[in-house]
Point group: C2
Chain length 229, copies 2
Amino acid sequence: MSRTIAVLGGTGPEGFGLASRWAIAGETVVVGSRDPKRAQEAAGKIKQRAGANAKVTGMENSAACAAADLLVLTIPFEGHVALLKQLKPEFRAGAIVVDATVPLAASVGGRASRTLGVWQGSAAQQAAELVPSGVAVVAAFQNVGAEILNAEGPVDCDVIVCSDDAEASKTVRALAAKIPGVRALDGGKLENARILEQITALLIGLNIRHKGHSGIRITGLPPAAYSGH
Amino acid sequence: MSRTIAVLGGTGPEGFGLASRWAIAGETVVVGSRDPKRAQEAAGKIKQRAGANAKVTGMENSAACAAADLLVLTIPFEGHVALLKQLKPEFRAGAIVVDATVPLAASVGGRASRTLGVWQGSAAQQAAELVPSGVAVVAAFQNVGAEILNAEGPVDCDVIVCSDDAEASKTVRALAAKIPGVRALDGGKLENARILEQITALLIGLNIRHKGHSGIRITGLPPAAYSGH
């Protein structure tokens, strides 16, 4: 299948890291940004890392959305509602939105080791309210740090995937498992995104306290539970 | 130091597992229960597992509290407030309360894969409101499942420890690291207990979905961050 993955916020470190990893894995990737020029520059850098045959381009966010079957949101929480409203007319039918957004209190001047309470329960559930019907929302990638994605070598972190759409969840688990080292787990319904988002705040606190780049692994499940391993 | 550790709710699987592990490690352990007879029976079973020299006794919860320097709460959330009110006159000066309680929605007839919202932020923060001044509250052990503790061999799970009392947190990290396989991490202030409690709900969901006994490991931190390794 010749799907296209757009990473919106793909010029930021988290989005850049994910876009690079998928470009290396042979996926067709669009880097989305408010500024198409910055998006193209980021795409150029990813090509340097992933090789000349890498299928990476850069576009303004709305154009990236219109071009993509699967969109990954790696944006600051303060831009979450506005971006989803902007994208609403652009979605392809049957598109999947993968929300990696974390409502860090830093969005309103607080600490990155705390989250804001989102009325819907989580940023991903907020996204589910803002996408057109027929677009599936999947929560994933909140716990994989940018530094780890942008470093060389395998990623020592599991990706827990939550969605109310079982097929979309499966697609995203397979995509996650394309990143070397990542094991993807079915984390159940989208409502569990609130826990994934809060784990990020905990990991940020651990990073600050212990000067590291932390991730999580889930132990004790049968091998079949983990996609890609 | 000849401290005494009381595990309240020590006849339940989680408390029994922790009490056994610490008895095996040579600690002086009191199993606390509403029913002193059941507490004594559990203590007898722990001796069978830990050996005849194990220092384990069983007592009613209030008596166990009065006898202990460090109390571990492994009780259902629906008994949390009542037990802490009952214990209030019994605490030794300078005692440490380690709260492993998780406010699962199952406490009010809901799912064990969801948590209740606790006004104070978490069960552990609720505990901090209910103990006498001078008693430190530490949140820990929510994410280590009973099945893993009661199985033989090392525990494949990290214990994240949160407290506003740095000394008490350190004491509990050292105690956690006495369980083979466990690495203990400073998870910051007590307010972060809300995240630890919710991780348990996520792990329970994973256990149900994948038929396992899950735990968590934190990756990517320097070795010095982990007590006991």
